[in-house]
Every structure is written in C-alpha cells, then in structure tokens.
Amino acid sequence: MATLPSKPIADDVSLLVVLIDTNPFFWSTSSSSLNFHQFVSHVLVFLDLIVRLSQLNQIVVIATGHNTCDYIYDSSLDTDQVTGEGELPALYSFVLQRLEEFVDKDEKLGAKQEGLSEKRASSLLSGSLSMALCYIQRVFRSGPLHPQPRILCLQGSPDGSEQYVSIMNAIFSAQRSMVPIDCCYVGSHNSAFLQQASYITGGVYVKPQHLEGLYQYLATVFAVDLHSRSFLQLPRPAGVDFRASCFCHKTTIDMGYVCSVCLSIFCKHHDKCSTCGSVFGKAQLDAASDRKRKASES
C-alpha cells in the first residue's frame, strides 16, 4: 500500500476539496456582517475562478451540516447539469440547487431530535474531513498522473469537543498522505482544531477581519496551487496553542499529569484515573485483588 502519493500531472494543477459549513445554528445566530446567502455567493465566484485558472483543475464540494454531511458537486462528473437560469452559469445553478436540497435534508434529520440543550452547536466537521480524505485516496489510486490535492475548510461553527479524537485522526492521516488542510474561518473566535490542522499538515489558516471582502481573501490566499505557494508570502499562524486541556476542568494547562494507561490529562495528582479506572502506584493485579477483598469484607 502506497502511503506516499504518486506523480502529479503538472506543477500547477490542483484538486481542491471545499468543505462548506451550512450549520443553521451558526448562520442564524451569526452577528457578523456576512449572512449565508452572501457567503455562498462569495464561495461560488471563488469556485468559478478555480475552474477557470486551468482546464485540468478539479473541484469537489462537500457540505458540512449539523446532522449530516454530503457531496454537493464534483467537477469531474459529466452530470446532466442544470442549464444556466438566466444570467447564472450552469455551475452556480447546480450548486445552489444541490445546497438547497442538502439543507432541507439536514433540517429534516434534525427535526426528529429534541431541542438542543447546549448553546454552542457544532457542525460535523470530522465527517466531511473523513469523506474528503477518502475521495483524495481514490484520486491517488486512479493512476500514475493526478492533480495535487488539497482541502479547504470554510468553517464558522465552533469546535465540538466530542469530535476531538476523530478530527485529530483525520489530521494525522492527511499529514501522512501529504494533503494540506487550509482553513478560512468565518466565525467569531478562533478554532483551535483548525489551527492545529493547518499547522500540522502545512496548510494556511486565515481568519478574515473584514468579512464583506471574503472573496478577496479566498482569491489571493487560497486560489494558488501548492507549487506556487513557495513563491508567495502567505499569512503565517500567529501562535498556535498546543497546550492541552485537563480532563477535569477543561482549562488549558502547561504542566500536568498524564495517566500512563489511557493518556488522560489531569491538572492535580489523583489516586485513581477517572477515565480508565486504573489505580496509580500499584500493579493492576494488586489493585484488583484489593478491590475484591474489600468487596468481600463489606
């Protein structure tokens, strides 16, 4: 099994997998100057730009919803695309139609559930990242010549802490396959997961200050293929925070205690690990027999 990619077609041909965040909980409460319609229009013009830069460029769009993820558009498929309605090119109408269908499906899946207790509703980023990576593996398998793949995350929803392990797995797999994960974060506070993703895989993380000009950020930073990036001065990460957060209080710590069995992080010394139940300082068999003895005594 080849973990290293085979030879790309030419230096400047790219396969761009765009992950669009359609989480209704984020877009409805977003207080910034960008609403979902404006966001989609910026992104559509950007997609058109990528397609026009080179005939061999490929785009795949995957939507990240609140309850599901799905493929929206694949430029390599000869679909019977919807013909342009009026002034809109075929690409735009097709993507808009599929996005609408996706958002409806996402909503229907959510309607079966009870109301959300937590205010910060995250999207299923790990699902769309996994699908993107599987698609990229398929492209690697397709033959000796293929475009250079990269992933662009257009994310606004906050990080979901329950997805930490899956997102880190996806990041390490992307690092091994040498696929950079770029991110353009349109939410309010920085996303620690995506900053780490860009740092580890060698991608670019940008949090635009003026969201009305989102297209300009996209076109100048993310439209460039991987080979040409070495000639450009791209935004550099201003301090990625790699400190861990302790499992008991979720505060970031710079010195802590790590359980040698399950690698959970604690800020204070404990006698017993709350995750795996191992008793510290004693061999496991002794601890188990101690517990049995105490149970039989009581």
């Binding site: 973990t3 996994s130 990576l133 205690y257 040698s260 496991q284």
Partner: protein, 417 residues
C-alpha cells in the same frame, strides 16, 4: 524383454536421481526461478503490450485474512494497550547476516526495513523510546541509548553495517536486561530480536538468563530469518512475545511492521502511574536563546520548558536541565486511535448486494460506483468499497458514515441499553 524393461526402469530411476542431485546443488533462491517461473504470470493485451499484473484482488484477500485474524483476538473490544513503550531492537550482525538469500544480503535488507520500522514506530508511539543493540563477534554492543529521536538511531545504524563472527543470544539478553532495568515502572519493556544465525554461542546458561528476563517483565519477540530455533521459541513463550520466521523480504517487512502498533498489555506488566509532563508553548518569533540540545544560539522557532524556561528545539523530548517530559497535545492524540479503535466492517456477499435497497450503489465515502460488493459498517450501515475499507482501518481510523451522523444522547442511551 525382462532385461530391457529392467534397464529402462533403472535408467528412469537414474534420471530421477540425477534431477534430485541437480536440485540439491541449487540454492533456494535459484529454485524459485526454476520451480515457480514468475515470468509466466505476465499477460499481454490485444496489441501485444505487457499488462500490469492485477495485484488488487490478491491484496484485498490478504487484507481480509489479516482482519479476520485480528478480529479473532477481539481487537474491537477495549483491551488495554501498552502505550508508553521502551523497545530495544537487537540486530544480529554475525556471519550469518552476510548470507545472500535475501537480496543483496540479509544485513542490507534488515537495515532498510529497520529504518522504515523506526519511523513507523515513532509515528504510532510518539511517547515511546527505542534503543539499538548489535551482536557481532559473539559480543553484544549497545549502538544507541534509549531515545526518542528517529534520526539519531537511523544514522547510527547505517554507519555500522558489517557482519562478522558468531552470534550470542545470551549476551544480547543480558545487555538488554541491564538497559531496560533502569526505566520507570509505568513503561512497557519490550525487546525485538532480528536473528539470522542458526546457533548461539553463550558464556553461561541461557535458560537462567531467560528466567531473569521473565522476572524483569521483558516481553521478548523474535523474527528469524533462517529457520525456527527452539531456544528462540522458548524465549518467546516464556516472556509472552511472538516468534515468527520470515519467508522472504516482503514477509519480513510485514512481520516487522506488525510490531509497530502497541501490543495488548498484560495487566501485571506495568504499574499505572501519573507522569508529570509539560506542554510547552512556542517561543516568540525573533526571540534569541541558546538551545539546550545543540548548545548554540538560535532565533525563534523553539519551545520553552514551562518549569525551567530552557529552550528546546523539537518535541517530544526530555528537558536536559529539569528532566521534565515535554510533549504537545497532538503527540498524545496520535495514540488515541489505539484506545478508541473502530470496529472492522462486515463483508457483503454478492446476494446481499443485489437485494440491498441502496438506490445508487456507490461507496459512501469516495462515491465510486461499487462494481464488486464491498463492506458495510455495522453501526451506520453504510456501504464502502474495499479500498476505502483498507484506508479507513489502516490510516484514517474514523468511519465516515458514523462521523456524518449526529447521535443524540437519547439515541445513544437507547442503543446502549
């Protein structure tokens, strides 16, 4: 008539004898050319051009068999694994390592694959350490100390590649025992011996040494390159390791890489402990400090120990001044997939595939149309092609179908009960 018949039979018997004699004169690697005839597996297409051999089907069936053997040991259940490992790799560089049945020589093949193994090992176990030991001229020498940097080990190994003399298993075990005796109690002690020789010249009673290793809780595994030996088998059985003999280079690589993921941990082998670790921040851009590893002034791009504020160049490492283990959270996260493994997918029979109500028979993750039935996830019931199945289980460790579903607490408790 009888005479001529007898003569004919004798003649045939003589011919058979001649063939046997000829075969005995050939080596095993020569016999693969005469007996197996690999050139006959090549195929031509209509225009007479050579077609690449279709390895895919073989590869898939190999993968299936491997998964089945893994699931037989219930890999899906949460077995405790030894995540903080201290592994000593013992390379046998005796005269037998110069044999040429592995091209170009056993030594070269071992060195190449040990390099790949070291990189894979540190990729999967970032908190662990490796030490290298070589056996040459009947003595065991420690090539590198236990350390966490792959480059140092690989450089040391590539320099010292020469084989001579006899091999001594007992000396190697004594040396490894002394090295691994000093490590903290929460670490798992492992030894991996790559043995080419067919004998061992020992100064004392090797059975005593084996008992000593067993008492010290060393888990010794051996990969043999020539043939199975009783003493290696006994060693592995006593200490709970695995003993395999490699058939050829590909098989050797496979066996070696099997030791990279953490083995299941026997509960009495390591004492659980809380290890104090530091999570350093990156130094500010443009700050100048003398780094503690190279003893030279460096600008920016380093990490600062939270306890003694010394500058280190790379992580994970141990601070030279205060001894604090320094890691970053991604290093810990690299091992999480061992703790939360995904279940193997079930294979779909052709009939189930026909009957399934999936509208478009495409793989859920890569959207390639499924020509042959693939595999399905037991939890989310999505279909995947075999290549995605392999990628998901070997590299990604996330099921895209399960990750693309939101499970509410109510639904989760319903499935649990």
């Amino acid at each position: 008539m009888n005479n001529s018949e007898k003569k004919r039979m004798n003649g045939e018997a003589e011919e058979e004898n001649e063939e046997d004699v000829e075969d005995e004169g050939r080596d095993a690697w020569e016999r693969t050319y005469t007996d197996e005839r690999s050139w006959e597996a090549l195929e031509e297409d209509e225009s007479g051009l050579l077609q690449p051999i279709d390895n895919k089907a073989i590869y898939h069936s190999q993968y299936r068999r491997r998964l089945q053997s893994l699931s037989a040991t219930s890999a899906a259940s949460r077995i405790q694994k030894g995540l903080i490992r201290f592994l000593c790799v013992v390379v046998d560089l005796s005269k037998a390592a110069g044999e040429m049945d592995f091209k170009p020589s056993r030594m070269a093949v071992i060195a190449k694959h040990v390099e790949a193994f070291i990189r894979e090992f540190f990729d999967q176990n970032p908190l662990s350490q490796i030490g290298l030991v070589i056996i040459k001229d009947g003595v065991a020498q420690s090539l590198t100390e236990l350390g966490g940097s792959p480059e140092a080990h690989i450089k040391a190994l590539m320099v010292k590649l020469g084989c001579a003399g006899d091999s001594s298993l007992q000396n190697a075990l004594e040396l490894v025992h002394d090295t691994l005796h000093k490590i903290p109690s929460y670490g798992h002690r492992e030894v991996l011996i790559l043995y080419s020789a067919l004998s061992t010249c020992d100064p004392g009673d090797i059975m005593e040494t084996i008992q000593k290793c067993k008492k010290a809780k060393l888990r010794c595994s051996v990969i043999g390159l020539s043939a199975e030996m009783f003493v290696c088998k006994h060693l592995c059985q006593e200490t709970g390791g695995s003993y395999m003999v490699a058939l050829d280079e590909g098989h050797f690589k496979e066996l070696l890489l099997e030791h990279a993921p953490p083995p299941p941990a026997l509960a009495e082998f390591a004492i659980a402990n809380l290890i104090k670790m530091g999570f350093p921040q990156r130094a500010a851009e443009g700050s100048i400090a003398i780094c503690s590893c190279h003893r030279e002034a460096k600008v920016g791009e380093g990490y600062i120990c939270p306890r003694c504020k010394a500058r280190v160049c790379e992580l994970p490492t141990e601070c030279r001044f205060c001894g604090l283990t320094l890691v970053s959270s991604p290093h810990l996260a690299r091992s999480y997939h061992h703790l939360f493994p995904i279940e193997p997918f079930t294979e779909i029979s052709a009939r189930q595939f026909e009957l399934s109500r999936v509208a478009s028979k495409t793989c859920f993750s890569c959207r390639e149309s499924l020509l042959t039935p693939g595999a399905a996830c037991t939890k989310c019931k999505q279909y995947f092609c075999l290549d995605c199945d392999i990628y998901i289980h070997e590299s990604l460790h996330n099921c895209p179908g399960c990750e693309s579903r939101r499970i509410t607490p109510a639904a989760a408790s319903a499935t649990k009960s």
